[in-house]
């Protein structure tokens, strides 16, 4: 009576069709909000670029051996990656599980939490990789010289964006309420944002702060992007990539754990 051979094989983990299903949902949704999202992702870094470029730029012309516009233009890329990944991941995830209950619908389909989280972070990472290039393109108009290494920037943005997306999803998974995000933004993201060398070099900081920066994925993202644009420097860039990959893998597993706890009771 056991008809084992007639039963379909057990479905695996991280199936392509499950990931595709979640990604299709994101892409179709994106078609309804791409204008506002592209607007904010473009305008925000441009404002940073203009404010710092003209504000500081009038005081300092070169910094750490770079023209200030070049320095800040590349630094803003990492900021744009952070803004277009960590924030949408945090808020989007929260809205999708608590207000829209989208995740209830998706998990009732043949999709597991692991696939859901993976697809969501892949999607956010891809967007971050693309949006991250915007400030660089803007900076070209302000005098940043184009280089072949710039072609690596979307990929760097993608790797970092994957980590930040999963960081955001983890926060949303652990958060008890929307208000909890304030703590994370103030106590975690803002310091990381400033301790990354985006707008000013960290050489003026005390040693302990510089040591701390080594733990900051955004710092590695900033360094890697500068090296991509101005010329790779060998092993140190391999190290930056390794840190970003490790960051991505770690947050990915944490995000899956956090969401599993949140969504499956």
């Amino acid at each position: 009576m056991a008809t084992a051979e007639a039963r379909p094989a057990r479905l695996g983990r991280l199936e392509r069709s499950a990931l595709t299903g979640v990604l299709v949902r994101e892409v179709v949704n994106y078609s309804s909000y791409w204008k506002s999202s592209t607007f904010s992702s473009t305008v925000e870094p441009t404002i940073y670029l203009l404010a710092f470029g003209f504000g500081f730029g009038s005081l300092v012309s070169t910094i750490g051996g770079y023209d200030y516009v070049d320095f800040v233009g590349t630094g803003t890329v990492a900021t744009a990656v952070l803004f277009s990944s960590a924030f949408p991941a945090m808020f989007g995830t929260f809205v999708k599980y608590s207000f829209q209950r989208t995740y209830d619908a998706i998990l009732a389909a043949p999709v597991d939490t692991e696939e859901l989280v993976t697809a969501e972070s892949l999607w956010i990472a891809t967007r971050a990789g693309v949006y991250g290039c915007v400030p660089m393109i803007v900076a070209i108009f302000f005098g940043l010289d184009p280089s072949w290494g710039m072609l690596a920037v979307p990929f760097i943005g993608w790797i970092a964006g994957f980590g930040w997306a999963n960081f955001g999803i983890s926060i949303a998974g652990f958060a008890k309420s929307f208000e909890n995000f304030n703590y994370v933004v103030s106590a975690v993201l803002t310091p990381l944002f400033l301790l990354a060398g985006s707008f000013f070099p960290l050489s003026g900081f005390p040693d302990w702060a510089q040591a701390l920066a080594q733990l900051n994925p955004l710092y590695h993202c900033v360094q890697l992007i500068r090296d991509a644009v101005f010329g790779f420097e060998g092993w140190v860039d391999v190290y930056h990539v390794a840190v970003l990959v490790a960051f991505g893998l770690l947050t990915w597993r944490v995000a899956i754990f956090a969401m599993q706890r949140k969504l499956i009771d």
Partner: protein
């Protein structure tokens, strides 16, 4: 193996901290039938539904859906199930058609069949001419029809409907009943939770009355009524003091009674009126429900 079961639960327990939401539940849903889970709010109906998609993991007991053991093989089971949640979770900024398109992907419909599947769902939801409307522009009834047909886009063998008509106008409710009835006549297996007696009585082949996480009665609606409330019921009206008196007297006479808001119903009054003055009416599932759960329903 006997009648093939689409759902088989044995002694299932689900606790949330100190609360036991599902408390030793047995549930059989034979293939090709419609089973109604009837119970007041908080009886454990929604938890049971979540257990069946492994969105809740049972603390004890055995669960099988379409022959797959849960939670280990839940994904295969989900691939052949359609689920309509109690709370609307459509993508409101997308159009009707886009919502169906997304689910045609989530339910892995092959590319060549996708168009037809979406058309079929649009017809079923009677939303063919609203295909390009955004969901937030639809009426409540339309949204619910879309929510149900979204769950049917891949022609599931088993459909789980969690309170499919809750919060809707009576007229809209009847429209949805027609939809569920059509599905049933096509041979789709349905498990539906509801706290509307009439819904269960009309649609379900078998009703399982749930209270405090347990099954208190199972059977076809007419048999449950016959068994617990008899053919006819005598409804006696009067001031509270009079009702209490009637209740006591009926109890002494060995009759079962149940309270309604303004009257007392004496069940199984198949002979004469036993000296009580009241109105006779056919017994119904509500009598059984109130008798067994001790709770009024909205």
């Amino acid at each position: 193996m006997g009648a093939e079961l689409a759902i088989r639960l044995r002694n299932v327990v689900k606790r949330y901290g100190p609360i036991t939401a599902v408390d030793g539940l047995d549930l059989d849903v034979p293939l090709g039938t419609c089973v109604g889970l009837l119970g007041p709010n908080g009886a454990g109906k929604s938890t049971t539904m979540r257990l069946l998609t492994a969105q809740s993991i049972a603390d004890e007991g055995e669960l099988e859906v379409l022959g797959f053991r849960l939670p280990e093989e839940s994904k295969q089971a989900r691939a052949e199930c359609g689920v309509t949640p109690q709370l609307d979770n459509l993508d409101t900024t997308l159009t009707v058609e886009q919502n169906l398109l997304v689910f045609s992907h989530l339910y892995r419909i092959p590319r060549a069949e996708r168009r037809d599947a979406i058309e079929r769902a649009l017809v079923m939801a009677k939303l063919v001419d609203r295909r390009d409307s955004r969901v937030d522009k639809l009426s409540g009834g339309m949204r619910r029809r879309l929510l149900i047909s979204r769950a049917l886009v891949h022609r599931p063998r088993l459909v789980l409907l969690d309170e499919p008509t809750v919060g809707l106008d009576p007229q809209v409710r009847q429209e949805l009943w027609a939809l569920v009835d059509a599905l049933r006549s096509e041979g789709t297996t349905i498990l539906m939770s509801t706290h509307y007696i009439e819904e269960a009585q009309r649609l379900a082949d078998t009703v399982l009355i749930m209270s405090h996480g347990k099954a208190v009665a199972v059977g076809p609606p007419s048999e449950l009524v016959m068994e617990h409330a008899g053919r006819e019921v005598l409804e006696v009206y009067g001031p509270p003091a009079r009702l209490a008196e009637v209740e006591a007297q009926a109890g002494e006479a060995g009759m079962r009674t149940r309270r309604t808001g303004t009257s007392i119903s004496i069940l199984s009054i198949d002979g004469d009126n036993l000296g009580f003055d009241g109105e006779r009416r056919p017994a119904n599932l509500e009598d059984v429900f109130v008798l067994l759960t001790g709770e009024e329903i909205g």
